[in-house]
């Protein structure tokens, strides 16, 4: 005979209250030593999670011995289905997941600047957000940048605690729906859930364990009557409970979920260029490469139209940053042709509008590009850029520190090329120019050169 109590404990831990109630009733005869605690828990669920308790569970409670029901004060349970139902909510949606067992969690998207999210969550949010803003852009017909840094999301269990164990692609569609709900201020209907993967292009894809996911929704959220799944999702036969709605794209999913279109007034008409440029740097630093490229493209289109004489002072530096970041992102993806195209545009802006782009920004951008080229083993091109920069910096009387940075990165390039003599020579030159407080790092680089060249006594 298997002890049913460990399973019941696990059900409670996962927040599966209906699962607990039904298992308790089914195994009541084997749970003698812990009956008082189990009855107390049932009372607790009815007091605190009444909206989740299904008519089936209420009916099951009625099957317990009358004396025990009386002891627990459970003789007068309100009729099944008479409890409060969860209201429609903005930025929130329930979705099923399967980890060690089935469970239901709530995605809650919030506006939270600079939230410290786990990397996997940030990538998921970025992915879903890119798809949502694609839809919004089409609807609004104007420039609209997706800024992951403005948002954060939580995966909450019924106790309101974040559940970091739940992850995977099946939360992408519900996440996108919750995000759309938040930015458009339209609530998600309480009777709807979703489980599907989602591409940045808005295409909806199937997920694993669909049978378990639908079964857990059916048991733990009896009021959910509609579930969005991919049109390509293979479905097991004989699934009762909620209605499964197949969708091809996020666009389909949003039009089924939300009965009305978003209010364009929710989105400010003008872009705050300074803020968007800051976001672009943030996206680049957080390695949200695709979003950075898409937003840079969006801003470039917007700024190129505004590059009139009167606004040049503001738009040219912004354009320069967009091309620079876009080029760097392409370089990270190993797309050299696109990288060159973008960076050439950045360089031509610097040269065409002298004084509008700060020389230090320009040099910094080019040094960074040379480093990226080194990282993808395009040593020859990287070396040429460093050499050109040495000359350009001399001519433009650049700051010593900037010159030093260029020489130090050239030294590291030579180290990678096993040209130890030149690496040492350029590092020593760099150390004469670099800021004092950063010198310790250069000593480290020099030590690396000596180690790699076998000059251990140095």
């Amino acid at each position: 005979m298997i002890d049913p109590f460990p399973k019941i404990k696990s059900l409670e831990r996962e927040g599966n209250f209906n699962g607990v109630i039904q298992a308790v009733v089914e195994n009541y005869g084997d749970l003698g030593p812990v009956r008082p605690e189990l009855l107390a828990r049932i009372v607790h669920y009815l007091d605190h999670f009444r909206a989740f308790i299904s008519p089936k569970s209420i009916a099951a409670i009625g099957c317990l011995p009358p004396a025990d029901l009386q002891y627990a004060g459970l003789t007068d349970i309100p009729d099944a289905g008479s409890g409060e139902r969860p209201a429609q909510s903005i930025g929130r949606i329930a979705f099923p997941a399967v980890t060690s067992g089935g469970l239901v969690r709530e995605i809650r998207v919030v506006e939270e600047e600079g939230a410290n999210m786990l990397s996997a969550r940030l990538q998921a949010l970025d992915h879903a957000g890119a798809a949502v803003y694609r839809v919004l852009k089409n609807y609004l017909g104007r420039c609209c940048c997706w800024t992951p840094g403005r948002f954060s999301f939580h995966v909450l269990d019924p106790y309101g605690k974040d559940d970091p164990a739940v992850e995977g692609s099946s939360l992408l569609l519900p996440l996108a729906i919750a995000l759309y709900s938040l930015v458009t201020r339209i609530p998600v209907p309480a009777d709807l859930s979703a489980t599907a993967a989602l591409g940045r292009d808005g295409k909806v894809a199937p997920v694993a364990n669909i049978r378990e996911k639908l079964a857990i929704l059916n048991r733990e959220r009896f009021f959910i009557k509609r579930v969005l799944v991919s049109a390509k999702q293979e479905m097991p036969g004989n699934m009762s409970g909620c209605r499964v709605i197949r969708v091809h794209s996020l666009d389909d999913a949003l039009s089924i979920t939300f009965q009305r279109p978003p209010d364009a007034a929710c989105f400010s008409g003008d872009l705050d260029i300074d803020a968007e440029i800051r976001s672009l740097s943030d996206q680049y630093n957080r390695y949200l490469i695709d979003t950075c490229i898409e937003n840079a493209d969006e801003l470039i289109r917007f700024l190129e139209l505004k590059k009139s004489r009167t606004e040049r002072e503001k738009t040219v530096p912004a354009l320069f940053t967009c091309y620079w970041k876009k080029g760097s992102c392409h370089c990270h993806k190993g797309e050299v042709r696109e990288t060159n195209g973008s960076l050439k545009k950045a360089v031509s802006l610097y040269r065409k509008y002298p004084g509008l782009v700060r020389g230090d920004d320009y040099f910094d951008a080019r040094v960074s590009y040379a480093v990226l080229l080194k990282d993808i083993f395009r040593y020859g091109e990287a070396e040429n850029i460093h050499k050109q920069l040495i000359e350009e910096m001399e001519q433009s009387r650049s700051l010593d520190h900037i010159k030093g940075k260029n020489l130090s990165t050239l030294s590291q390039l030579y180290l990678a090329m096993h040209r130890f003599g030149e690496a040492e020579q350029y590092q020593r030159r760099a150390m004469k120019l670099i800021r004092r407080e950063e010198l310790c790092r250069n000593y480290g680089y020099l030590a690396q050169i000596h180690t790699r060249s076998g000059a251990l006594r140095k």
Binding site: P33, V34, E37, P65
Partner: protein
């Protein structure tokens, strides 16, 4: 689970198939006529894949004639090689993932033979205890069967023939049981890391419930398998519950608990029951709830007034009614429990004595 099965709802490995030794002797012509006829029927009419493979591995083809040279070779094999499948060096430690056969003459913890089985069972070790192949080491094993038709997700698991036994086998996850390591006989090798991961995952999932509704045939087979494997854990149960004296030693782990100012009711994760004695409609238990240890008696009939007399460390305990058929008494608190407790209960005309050791984390086991 497949819909159609060719086999009866009984363990094929025990009721229908033959041991390697029987097949070897059959190959040498050394069995009585009736048994020979049965094996012939099994190999050639029933065409049992497992036994045919095994027979071929023994180096004999059923239909070929016997030369005296071959006969001698087989007798030699029989004498010198117990295992006819792939041989592995016996490991120093018993560990998870190893397949062993059980001894045909299982012993109790005192070393006395308690049964004589007709056949050895293969088992998969899922917990090696202290790792020693000795009678005092209690390990956990899953019986291995050849009834691969009875695969039911969540209860049993088939692993392919790339296992040490070299033919597909069914792991009876539902039938996992404790065993005295000294009753293992012959080491047959380890399952692959990949298979072991699958097995352990399935084992975890088993606690969470079956995934498929089984049919009656499966249930009949399962009942039979549980019955057949009972001999494996019998010596363990005997060691834990010496029936003549009703004297038992039980170890109860003490879970740490931070009290702070917590006055909330217990979540189920803070409740740990330990059953001392269980009969139909009655159980004697020690339950840890948060930091409290309670002695609890649970009866199915709430009107039952004749509760057993309980003595803890020779002092009578007063039980209070708790409701829901439960009577209880406070034994102590997690941070102040005596390490050893003797509990006596008069029940059903028998005197039961429990030597309980409360083991806190970090204390020697």
């Amino acid at each position: 689970m497949k819909k159609k099965r060719k086999k009866d709802a009984a363990s094929f490995q025990v009721t229908t198939c033959f041991t390697e030794e029987e097949l070897l002797v059959y190959g040498t012509g050394g069995l009585p006529k009736t048994k020979r006829a049965k094996i012939f029927h099994h190999l050639n009419v029933e065409r049992c894949e497992r036994c045919r493979d095994l027979f071929l591995m023994l180096g004999r083809e059923e239909s070929t004639g016997e030369s005296s040279q071959v006969r001698e070779k087989i007798i030699h094999q029989l004498k010198n090689a117990k295992g006819t499948v792939r041989k592995y060096a016996t490991p120093l430690k018993i560990q998870r993932g190893q397949i062993w056969t059980t001894t045909v003459r299982p012993k109790n913890a005192s070393g006395d033979t308690i049964a004589s089985m007709g056949v050895a069972f293969p088992v998969l070790v899922v917990s090696g205890g202290s790792g020693e192949k000795l009678l005092h080491n209690i390990i956990r094993v899953i019986p291995v069967s050849f009834d691969t038709d009875y695969e039911v997700a969540g209860e049993t698991l088939v692993i392919g023939k790339e296992n040490p036994l070299m033919y597909p086998v069914l792991l009876e996850i539902f039938n996992e049981r404790p065993m005295l390591a000294g009753n293992l006989d012959e080491y047959r090798g380890n399952v692959s890391t990949k298979d072991l991961a699958r097995i352990m995952e399935m084992r975890e999932r088993f606690l969470e419930g079956r995934e498929t509704e089984p049919d009656e045939e499966y249930l009949a087979w399962k009942e039979k398998e549980i019955e057949l494997a009972e001999f494996i854990s019998f010596p363990v149960n005997e060691a834990l519950r010496e029936e003549d004296t009703h004297d038992q030693s039980i170890e109860i782990p003490v879970s740490g608990y931070r009290k702070a100012a917590d006055t909330s009711e217990a979540e189920l994760s803070q409740v740990t029951p330990h059953v001392l004695l269980k009969t139909a409609g009655f159980s004697l238990n020690i339950v840890q709830i948060k930091d409290r240890f309670l002695l609890r008696i649970a009866v199915d009939d709430p009107g039952e007034k004749s509760l057993p007399r309980i003595l803890v460390n020779s002092r009578a305990v007063l039980l209070e009614e708790r409701g829901a058929g439960v009577h209880e008494a406070l034994l102590g608190y997690a941070d102040h429990m005596d390490e050893i407790m003797e509990l006596e209960a008069e029940f059903g005309g028998e005197h039961h004595v429990f030597h309980i050791r409360f083991r806190t984390k970090g204390s020697q086991g």
